[in-house]
Symmetry: C2
Subunit: 331 residues, 2 copies
């Protein structure tokens, strides 16, 4: 099984954009988020239409920020948590380029980066956008309960981030670059509590990072940061423990994007989650920090819980997947 992709030409991330809702605009990282919405309906009639518009806006802004024109873009890889990835499909109709709809739940962002990097690295295409979004109000009512019910949230739960991010990948320029990709496989340890996704995803994050270290013969110390999105507080701890048991101490490098996005308070418990959490956080503070060479070599892992409301209802456990990319600062 070949899981490691070594990119000879190392596709460059030539532009990014990020968008977030009013709650996320209170984050410690808020000053790095490009567009902060005051209205989480984004002046639309429904939350679903708002999320599609968020996806459209963040893609459009990333293209503008990259200095490219819309006509330069060859294709878009995008995904979100809505049934039939509605935000992705409906935003893609506004762009005159190829479209690949992808879905690996909250692991979708790195899935897109791996596939898009492969297409650019091998010259099938020159400029590709990867984007993901999520929205608290669309996810909550689709996966859990009607918003109007005001359900009490269990302490192991995470809060779905209203936000998203987009990158433009290209074959030229002195920018942060995708050096390697490592494909996740589906891991299912039998966790059935759909509120405790951190516990369901931690073994998958472990499987990917442990296999990656083995295959590349590298150690945590060779990386400035190991980012996961989004295991949450508990899931992150489980993940570090699993790595520690196999002799890898990642305490110094590991940061979970879900754990840090919100300033700690009771409402979110374990932190943020959602397909847009990792892309929002990466396409703002972390991209800038890599660009400024504050971090030179970063592992970004996105973790996805592949459940649906039907699968949980039918008593199924939660299969999980984690994809990984290595991002380096420019030459």
């Amino acid at each position: 099984m070949k899981r490691l992709f070594n990119y000879k030409n190392q596709p460059k991330i030539i532009g990014v954009s990020s968008i977030c809702g009013p709650k996320e605009a209170q984050s410690n990282f808020a000053k790095y988020f490009e567009l902060k919405l005051k209205d989480d309906k984004y002046y639309e009639e429904t939350f679903e239409k708002a999320e599609s518009k968020m996806m459209y806006t963040v893609i459009k802004n990333a293209i503008t920020n990259s200095g490219k024109k819309e006509t330069d873009i060859d294709s878009i890889f995008s995904g979100d948590l809505l049934n039939q990835i509605m935000s992705s499909s409906f935003s893609a109709r506004n762009f005159d380029c190829g479209y690949f709809g992808i879905y690996n739940a909250c692991a979708t962002f790195c899935e897109g980066l791996i596939l898009a990097s492969s297409l650019i690295d091998s010259n099938y295409q020159d400029n590709i956008v990867c984007a993901t979004t999520s929205h608290f109000s669309t996810a909550e009512r689709q996966y859990r309960y009607p918003l109007e019910l005001g359900s009490t949230r269990p302490p192991v739960s995470q809060w779905t981030v209203t936000g998203g991010g987009a990158v433009v990948l290209s074959n030229k320029g002195n920018y942060p670059k995708i050096m390697q990709g490592f494909v996740g496989r589906v891991i299912d340890y039998g966790v059935i509590d759909a509120n405790n996704m951190g516990a369901a995803m931690a073994p998958s994050a472990f499987d990917t990072l442990y296999s990656f270290f083995k295959e590349t013969n590298t150690t945590p110390n060779e990386y400035d940061l190991i980012l996961t999105g989004d295991l949450g507080v508990l899931g992150g701890k489980l993940f570090r423990d699993l790595m520690w048991e196999k002799g890898y101490n990642i305490k110094k490098q590991h940061v979970d994007l879900g754990e840090i996005i919100y300033n700690s308070n009771d409402e979110e418990y374990q932190g943020g989650s959602g397909a847009g959490c990792s892309s929002l956080m990466f396409c703002s503070y972390f991209y800038n920090a890599i660009k400024e060479r504050k971090y030179k070599k970063v592992i970004l892992m996105t973790t996805g819980a592949l459940l649906s409301s039907i699968s949980s209802f039918q008593g199924e456990s939660i299969p999980s997947i984690t994809h990984l990319v290595v991002i380096g600062c420019g030459a």
Copy 2:
């Protein structure tokens, strides 16, 4: 915009498998379908679990038929119509290899073929499975009405195929091969009738084939067959008319897989549809015919209507996409 992928190494389709339900087992093509289920619940408690099992079985059988072992497979590209592509994710947990979840509705099969062929052509991976399934009873109750309601179907509707297919792509051997890929873009002509998907998808199929002919400077006569899956009777006619208006007569080569899967009767009206229709039909009669050199160069186009039950409910029109691959017989 680069939409055309020319595969230098032309990935080979070294094995296929197909699976279908009891209704599809009455098709004129039934003798070419590998596994014909007598029970459309496949001995499971729910239709959703049955569809996951169908996806698992067809992937497993395709690997066996290809002469490869499961440990030879690098990754699976799969998609289906269920929310959060449940059949794909839940079947993938049974295979110890990489997983890329993809979703472009009924265009998913060619989306997978384009991406998997790119990864093999450029040597990132050696053996990849692409699979799609659909199930009448999971789709009907998710997208339309409860099965128990016994709703009358409008004459423009198509019948979701219970079935699916899988291919194993590899870098070696004298087998039918993927010569080119052509990426679809999202087209939305404002059709809002979720029962009339043929009309929604025809302009998208036209956009892809017309652009492909222009870009490759080829004509319909250079291909033995132009397969679409699935426009249905009416959609197929609209598609041929649109091509004719631009000076391309494809009457001789064009076959719609949805139109031919069922022996004409009132129940299905426009024919079959569903992510599994095109893969079921391709991975049986048509693959064999190409292997036997009955057809030497075939265009396969899968067409997807990117709606969701929420988008229709919120008054949205139906964006559509069509991906294309050119398949040639072995050397």
